[in-house]
Every structure is written in C-alpha cells, then in structure tokens.
C-alpha cells in the first residue's frame, strides 16, 4: 500500500470537503466571487500546499501542522460565547470599536454590519457581500494573488467570512478599530478568513488585529487580508499575536497604496507555535510611504517567519522596514525582506533593518535581505544582524547591583523598545509595552489577551518610571 504524506492526505480531505460543501461555501457569493472561488480551487488542486523545496518556504516547514486532523466549520457555530464578557473590558485608556471573529465567524450582538456616524462601515465580510456587493467586488481579490502559493489559493476557495471595513473618502476614524480573532474549541480547527479593508481618499484608519488563543488546543489558521489605501489616505495597522504553542497561523496581507498615501504596519508577536506573517506592499502611486515594523519574541519550540515584499512600482516613494526579534531555547526566527525597485521608480528611498538576539546555541535565526533594484536614482539600505546580549553592557548593569535576571531583562526590553516606540497610539503603546515586559519576564499567560485583560495596567515594574508623569 502506498503511504501518503500528511500534506497530500490533508489536501485530499480538503478537496473532497470543497466538492461536498461547494454550494454552502459559496451560497453568499456574487457571480464574480463564485468564479474566483472555482478558479482558486483549481489552482490549489494543481499546486497543493507549499513545501520546503519552494524558496519562499525553505525555512518554514508545515509538515507538523498537517500531521493533525482538523475540522472545518462551514457555518457559524450555533452557541456563542458570553458576548458581554468579551466586550465589557477594554484596553485601559483605549477607546476602541471592537469587532470579533469567533472560531472564524463574525461575532456580534445583533447586526453583522454597522455604519458609524461618520459613515465608516464595519462588520462581517459575508454581510458586506450581501449589502454592498458592488463595493466588495471592486476590491475583492484584486490585490491578493492566488498564484503566490497554494495557501492563498486555498483561502480564496474556502473563505466564507472575515472582517470588512470601509472608510469613505475624507473620513478620519479617530477611534481605533480592534479586530479580535478568538479561537476557542475543544476540537482542532482549520480556519480560513478573508478580510477586506477599504480606505477612501484622504481618509484615516487605525486598526488593531489581535490573534488570541483562549485555550491550549491545536488550531490552524490561514488568513488573507487585503487593504486598499486610496490617494492621500493614512493607515495605521497593528497586529498583536498571542497564540498558544500548538497553534499555526499563516497570515498574508496585501497592502495596496495609491499615491501620497501612508501605511504604518507593526506586527508584535508575543507567542505562537508556528506563525508566518507575510506582508505584500505595493506602492502603486507616487509619493507613497510604507513603514513596516515587527517585533517577535519566540522561545521553546516556537517558529516565527516574517516576510515583507515591498514593490516600489512608482517613483518618489519611501519604504522603511524594521524587524527585531529575540529567539530563546530551541526557537526559530526567520526574516526575509524583498525590496523591488522597478525601472522607472526613481527617487526611491528604501531601508530595511533586521536585528536578532539569539539567546541560546539551539535557537536558530535566518535573516535574508533581498534587494532587486532596476532604477538608478535610488537610496536603498539594508542591514541584518544576529547577535548575543552585549556582555560589556551586562557587566556594567550588574556592577551597579542589578542581578543577572534583571540585567538581561533590561537589555532585552531595551532591544525591543525600538519597535514598541514606533507605535503612535499612546494607550496602545503602553499596553503593548506592558505585554512585552510580561512576556520577557515569562509571566504572559495565553489568556492575557488584549481584550480580556481587564486588570488595570501595571505601572510600577522596578525599572519602569516615567519622570515626566510625576
């Protein structure tokens, strides 16, 4: 008898699930979406799952992820969690609109799509397809590329729900929109969401995307997010990942920037079994600006892979990447930064920095910058380092009476702070700052999620004192 690899078995299972549930999966689709789905499915059937022989996946092996038997939910779960409990607490001092996906499906008290007084529409993508089919169709799958890898195709074939945000032209949403992905099941779940964010001309949006586990069960999430940023719009995008050690998360985000728009994206990974964050950024109009930042703290057997592709498709654009990470125990951290400056994209300013601290011999760090430049009038810089803690600094701190543990903590925190300080929303920055400190001290529990963490912030960790506030 032929032995099949787990990825083949899983693929076969998904293919039969798709055929079996095809009508249910697409019951909400517009004609265009339905055709996309079938096309994507064909692509997935042909390509299958990505594997380590593909350059982009060389350092991220999904083999162990496929070794489990996952369930797929083709409709929202009937029983809902205590919504009150989820929505009652909020980040201290941080006024947000919270929207949640619960085991892959939009969770709401009543309406699945709401229009804020300023005209911003937020809610479920499935609902948006029903209510605003034209708006959705105009952008749906226009930026994602089903040929990028099998998982993108798979997501496009299967995705039924996700988050939808639309900010009309000229509207500035002052309140941060917080998207919470809640996984809470007793079985192993495979979740595929698709999020669509449309930000109109000169509009402004800040959103925070939290991926949290509520328990220690295994899960596999494959999410695709498309963000369209129209002319002159400003988008601040934050990602906060605190998943359990058995979780796998593949996150692919496509940012499309029109002229003179500005994107700042900051992904903070506090915990997770296997996480792959891929950001595709297209600077499609002149004078666009993209800041892509990330901080990752991995230990035990955890694996984090951050990938950024910045396409300078037009001239006079700036991009700035800063990724910093700490790999402890047997953890693996991967960073790949690809900057493409096309032939006519003169006056491009692109910089990319990746810094890693490898705390043990068993931890592994792969860092690969890749600059592909076809224009001549460009300023590009890149730097990648993998180092240990600075022994001289460690001794200096100890010589003042601070013990090994706190001395290391001070240095690790200082290392991470550069990325945290890029967070421009103060309340969020303070909150993430606390979470990072907790994480570094090994005190961050999986249930310390951004939303449910109702405790007021800690203010007085020994080295934390801000004199300007006394």
């Amino acid at each position: 008898m032929e032995t099949k690899y787990n990825d083949i078995l899983f693929k076969e299972k998904l293919v039969s699930l798709f055929n079996e549930h095809r009508r249910k999966i697409g019951f909400n689709d517009t004609g265009q979406m339905s055709a996309l789905r079938d096309n994507a499915f064909e692509t997935f059937e042909k390509t299958g799952f990505p594997h380590t022989k593909i350059e982009d996946w060389r350092n991220t092996n999904l083999k162990n992820v496929f070794a489990h038997n996952y369930n797929v939910l083709f409709e929202a779960q009937a029983d809902k969690p205590d919504i009150e409990k989820i929505f009652q607490c909020n980040i201290h001092n941080f006024d947000t609109h919270i929207i949640a996906l619960y085991n892959g499906w939009y969770l709401s008290e009543d309406k699945h799509l709401i229009t804020l007084p300023n005209g911003t529409i937020i809610g479920s993508l499935a609902q948006a397809v029903k209510e605003y089919p034209e708006l959705v169709e105009k952008h749906y799958n226009k930026y994602a590329d089903i040929n990028e890898n099998g998982l993108i195709a798979l997501n496009t074939a299967f995705a039924q729900d996700g988050i939808f945000i639309y900010v009309p032209d000229g509207v500035e949403t002052y309140k941060t929109i917080q998207i919470v992905n809640i996984l809470d099941r007793d079985d192993k779940l495979f979740i595929q969401n698709k999020n669509l964010i449309i930000v109109g001309k000169n509009a402004k949006l800040t959103f925070l995307h939290c991926d949290d586990s509520y328990n220690y069960n295994r899960s596999f999430t494959n999410t695709v997010t498309e963000v369209f940023i129209d002319e002159g719009a400003v988008v601040d995008h934050y990602k906060l990942q605190n998943l359990n050690d058995s979780s796998a998360l593949i996150n692919t985000t496509y940012f499309h920037l029109e002229k003179e728009s500005k994107l700042t994206s900051n992904a903070i990974t506090l915990n997770g079994g296997l996480i792959r964050n891929k950001s595709n950024v297209i600077l499609a109009g002149k004078k666009g600006k993209a800041n892509i930042y990330g901080l990752y703290l991995v230990d035990k057997e955890q694996h984090i892979d951050n990938r950024v592709f910045v396409d300078h498709a037009e001239s006079d654009c700036d991009s700035d990447e800063l990724f910093k990470g700490i790999a402890d125990d047997n953890a693996t951290a991967v960073f790949n930064g690809h900057i493409l400056v096309r032939k006519d994209s003169q006056k491009t300013n692109a910089s990319q920095t990746n810094r890693n601290i490898q705390l043990t011999d068993k931890a592994t760090v792969f860092s690969k910058p890749f600059l592909e430049i076809y224009a001549d009038d460009v300023k590009c810089s890149h730097g990648a380092t993998v180092g240990q803690l600075d022994e001289e600094a460690l001794f200096y701190i100890k010589s003042r009476g601070i013990g090994e543990y706190d001395a290391k903590l001070l240095l690790l925190y200082a290392f991470a702070a550069k990325v945290i300080n890029k967070i421009s929303v103060e309340a969020l920055r303070e909150n993430i700052d606390d979470l990072v400190k907790k994480r570094l001290r090994g005190e961050l529990a999986i249930c310390d999620m951004c939303v449910l963490q109702c405790k007021t912030q800690e203010k007085t960790y020994e080295f934390e004192i801000d004199l300007s506030k006394i």
Binding site: Y396, I397, R400, I402, G403, L410, L411, A414, F463, I465
Partner: protein, 250 residues
C-alpha cells in the same frame, strides 16, 4: 576594608597581575598610578567581579569575606563601586530606570522597601546637583551619545546615587576639562566619610591636587612595586616611570 593578597590574574592565558598586594582601610584614599597596560584596569575589574579573568592565585578579602566567588551584583550590593575607564553605552535603557532598579536592588539586599517615585526623584535631583550633571543627561539612555566627559561625570553621579563603601575610580579624570575635573573631584570629596574608602586610578598628579590621597602606589608589570605618600605622585610627575622600572628590575 580591602585586603588583596598575592593576587595573580590571567586573561586568555596571558598573566596580567603577578602577585599583587594591597591593603585599603576605612576612610583612606589610595591612588594607583603606573604605565599603560600594566594591569590597573585589570585590578579594578577583578575587584568588581568582571567575568573573563582567571584568578590563578591569591585572594581578595573585602569586609572580612573572600569575594572572589561573589557575583558582581552582590559585590555592588555589598558596597563596591567601579567607575569605568570606558563607561558602556546602553541604548534603550534610560538612566532613570537604570538607577531606580539599582537603588531598589541595593535596598532589597539590605531588607528595605523599594524607594517611592517621589523619594527617588528627590534623591536624583540632590545628586545631580552634587556632581553638577544636567538633568537632561539623566533623562537619556545610559551613556548613549554622551561625550567622553559626560560619561565620566555620569559615573560619579551613579556613585553618588549608590553611596558605596569602596569606590574604585578608573581614570575618571581622563577626558575631563579643568572645570569638570574640579566638579568631579569635589563630588568625590563630598562623598568621603570616615567609613568609606576610595581607590583612584590615574595618570595625572593634577587630580591628586583635588582628591588628596593618603597613599600612592605604582603598579608596574602586574605588581605594586612602590608605595608612598602623596609626594610620590609629584616625583612620578617629574621623573616618569623609568627610574621605577630600573629600580624594580634590580
């Protein structure tokens, strides 16, 4: 307070200190002078507990205890302070947080409660005045982007904050302008009590006009080859080290 007996230290297989003896008592100021590369900083580092050195022989007795096995932070909590010849820049760690952590660690060691933010702020202000260090420096990351002189002043500021029993100042005077030198010396003098002791490592007799030592030692080739009163520094200033080299090679 400090008794160093027949100390022999090597680094990477190279012997630096070769049977060094030194005794420092409460209330005393000792100056250690000597040519470049003879082991002055090595001695200071070994007393403070810097890793990487191999103690081949001898002992360092501080307050009656052999401290060679003691981790550096405990030595600091026991009252040893090293003013670094080359203070380290620590980007991202603010001076304030650094000092607050240090002070509270010292207090914890003594069984005291952590200092309140208010008390701490008051202490900072008081000590800033003492060493005439600008408040804006203490709001920055530890030594980051500080000028050479500012770094040295910052060492004295930290010393003032921690009030050590035994301060070892490794070339704290080098890189300081005349005014800064006076300020630093003045700071050191104000912190002097009958209970504490200071070891100043210097190349210049000028500092000793301001911080008047009880003893001057010459460290040469890993040993203290000559000791005397403050007038020895004047002789060294005038005659250099050649005569001592000759004398000790005899």
């Amino acid at each position: 307070m400090l008794k160093i007996k027949d100390l022999q230290v090597s680094i990477n297989g190279k012997t630096i200190l070769r049977g060094l003896n030194l005794e420092v008592n409460k209330g005393e100021v000792h100056a250690i002078m000597g040519p470049n590369g003879t082991g002055k900083s090595t001695l200071a580092n070994v007393i403070a507990g810097k890793p990487g050195y191999h103690i081949d022989k001898g002992e360092i007795i501080y307050k009656g205890k052999n401290i060679l096995e003691m981790p550096p932070e405990v030595r600091a909590q026991e009252g040893i302070f090293l003013g670094f010849q080359y203070p380290v820049e620590i980007p991202g760690v603010s001076m304030t947080n650094f000092m607050r952590t240090a002070i509270n660690e010292h207090r914890k060691y003594k069984g005291l409660d952590p200092m309140s933010a208010g008390e701490f702020l008051k202490l900072m202000k008081e000590k800033q005045k003492l060493v005439e260090i600008q408040a804006k420096l203490t709001n920055r990351s530890v030594n980051e982007g500080f000028s050479g002189g500012e770094k040295k002043k910052n060492e004295i500021f930290q010393m003032a904050m921690l009030e050590p029993n035994l301060a070892i100042l490794d070339e704290t005077d080098s890189g300081l302008d005349i005014d800064a030198l006076k300020i630093v010396a003045n700071g050191v003098n104000k912190l002097r009590t009958k209970e504490n002791a200071t070891i100043v490592i210097t190349h210049y007799q000028r500092l000793l006009d301001y911080i008047v030592p009880d003893f001057v030692h010459v460290l040469f080739d890993g040993k203290i080859v000559k000791s005397g009163g403050k007038e020895l520094a004047l002789v060294l200033e005038e005659k250099g080290y050649e005569w001592i080299k000759d004398e000790s090679s005899k």
